[in-house]
């Protein structure tokens, strides 16, 4: 199940608004499953500026490369450095320890334009057909 406190994109990323006003970003359960065993994560640098909808990194399985697209705009304040040595955490905990980075939001209202858990589940189901 996709957590109801997250917002989702059509590129299968999620964003979670934190109490301090930052947003944590990751890839969805569906995305990690489609990719298979993740062997490498190309992470953004702290201080980098992300623009909603634009690429900011990549996750790779043995077979393929999947670009990461920013669900919302902002400045990177933290990256999940555990993924450098153990990118497979994304497979085991895409909504938990497998988060990608945390950003200072440029415009918190951007999150309202993303899908909620129910809409995302419907989107994934429709995409499968």
């Amino acid at each position: 199940m996709n957590p109801t406190n997250l917002r989702y994109t059509k590129e299968h990323e999620w964003a979670r608004l934190e109490a301090d006003g930052t947003a944590t970003i990751g890839i969805t359960q569906h995305a990690q499953d489609a990719l298979g065993d993740i062997v490498f994560a190309s992470l953004p640098k702290v201080g980098a500026t992300l623009k909603a909808g634009e690429g900011f990194g990549a996750v790779e399985s043995v077979k393929s490369v999947s670009d990461l697209f920013a669900p919302c705009s902002g400045r990177v304040v933290e990256v999940n450095s555990a993924l450098v040595k153990a990118p497979e955490i994304i497979n085991s905990a895409p909504y938990g320890d497998g988060w990608i980075c945390r950003i200072e939001l440029a415009d918190a209202s951007e999150l309202d334009g993303l899908m909620d858990a129910e809409a995302y589940a419907a989107f994934v189901a429709a995409e499968a057909h």
Binding site: G36, V39, F40, A58, E60, V62, K63, V84
Partner: protein, 363 residues
């Protein structure tokens, strides 16, 4: 969108949890439930089964089919015996590769060719256009093909056939029966491991699949994902990636299948000229220093990272080595074993070392 072709094994694969992809117009498993790495390791350590029914088959008959086919290929069919198979390139007049093939010599009058799925139509047209004194028949739809690969493949297959397998040496073949189904049993493969490629009539192919799994319930079905990592660890060329109409077999490190001393063949004079003038590019194997995988299409720069000297043609993580490996086509002078190159990954240079292929020594 044209509909994808399913092989006779599709339902059985779906039942095993296969995830399918479009490969050359065929709907084939990219991986099964076990996953790519487990499938890869099963082949290296035990035995795995691949559906390679997408490969094309072309049957050539004529009073001297051997000579007729020999005029189209770079390797020498006159140098092998009846009952032997040959890996070869088939070239254009300019030396570019039309396809890489396995050619089976039944007799002077009968030659059987296995070609790449993506080149089936092109190869058949090429062969019918250029073949003299023999006739070719496209039998791609008639045959299903299974590859049983890994150290335990001979024992498993022997349990299903009365044909003694021990006398069939590497790159020899015979006709026989597998699980009661008439088959061509060929000691060939695309993994570097011991094993067989088994050609069976498409309409009875399911019986062979079922018999193999009944004989070894732990038999690992293997998808295209692991097929690619297994062949990459051996630096076996993949048509469309490492070789194509713009590369010559000499550039691709396939001089061992180019026999310039044999009778004339299409592309011979161009390859002779290239050899005399100096081979302009070389397909090299490389090992990445870092964690980021190199992928097909990434630019390759010289050691200082200033000049583009080529591009990656295949690349990714090696499940056996736990390191990132790849193959690149680079300009002459930048291809020495031991040399450092830089692979541009998402705009950043990552160091790699050119190494001798294969990357691994199979069991």
């Amino acid at each position: 969108m044209s509909s994808l072709i399913r092989t006779p094994f599709y339902e059985r694969q779906a039942a095993l949890g296969a995830r399918f992809v479009d490969f050359g117009g065929f709907e084939l498993p990219v991986q099964y439930k076990a996953g790519l790495v487990a499938e890869h390791k099963a082949v290296r350590e035990r035995v795995g089964l691949f559906d390679v029914s997408h490969m094309g088959e072309i049957d050539v008959r004529g009073p001297d089919a051997v000579a007729a086919v020999n005029a189209l290929i770079t390797n020498d069919l006159e140098a092998i015996a009846d009952g032997q198979a040959l890996y070869t390139c088939m070239c254009q007049p300019d030396g570019g590769v039309v396809d890489d093939l396995v050619v089976y010599r039944y007799s002077r009058e009968h030659v059987f060719i296995c070609c790449n799925a993506s080149n089936r139509a092109k190869d058949f047209a090429w062969i019918t256009t250029h073949l003299e004194g023999a006739t070719a028949e496209d039998q791609g739809d008639r045959w299903a093909q299974l590859a049983l690969q890994g150290p335990q493949a001979p024992a498993l297959l022997q349990g299903l056939t009365a044909t003694p397998l021990a006398p069939i040496k590497r790159y020899w073949f015979t006709e026989g029966e597998v699980a009661g189904v008439p088959a061509i049993i060929s000691r060939t493969g695309y993994t570097g491991e011991d094993g067989f490629e088994i050609y069976v009539p498409a309409e009875r192919a399911g019986e062979v699949w079922d018999a193999l799994f009944a004989a070894d319930p732990a038999l690992q079905p293997v998808g295209l994902g692991a097929r690619d990592t297994l062949r990459l660890e051996m630096k076996f060329a993949l048509y469309g990636n490492d070789i194509d109409a713009t590369t010559s077999p000499l550039e691709a490190g396939l001089a061992w299948v180019v026999k310039l001393k044999k009778a004339d063949f299409i592309g011979k004079s161009a390859l002779e000229a290239q050899k005399a003038a100096g081979i302009p590019r070389h397909l090299v194997a490389f090992l990445m220093d870092g964690r980021a995988p190199a992928r097909a299409g990434y630019p390759v720069l010289d050691a200082s990272g200033t000049i583009v000297v080529g591009k990656v043609t295949s690349g990714g993580p090696s499940p056996t080595l736990g390191r990132n490996i790849g193959v690149a086509l680079v300009a002459a002078g930048h291809h020495a074993v031991g040399a450092t190159i830089q692979v541009e990954i998402r705009g950043e240079a990552a160091a790699a070392t050119i190494v001798k292929a294969p990357f691994i020594q199979p069991s």
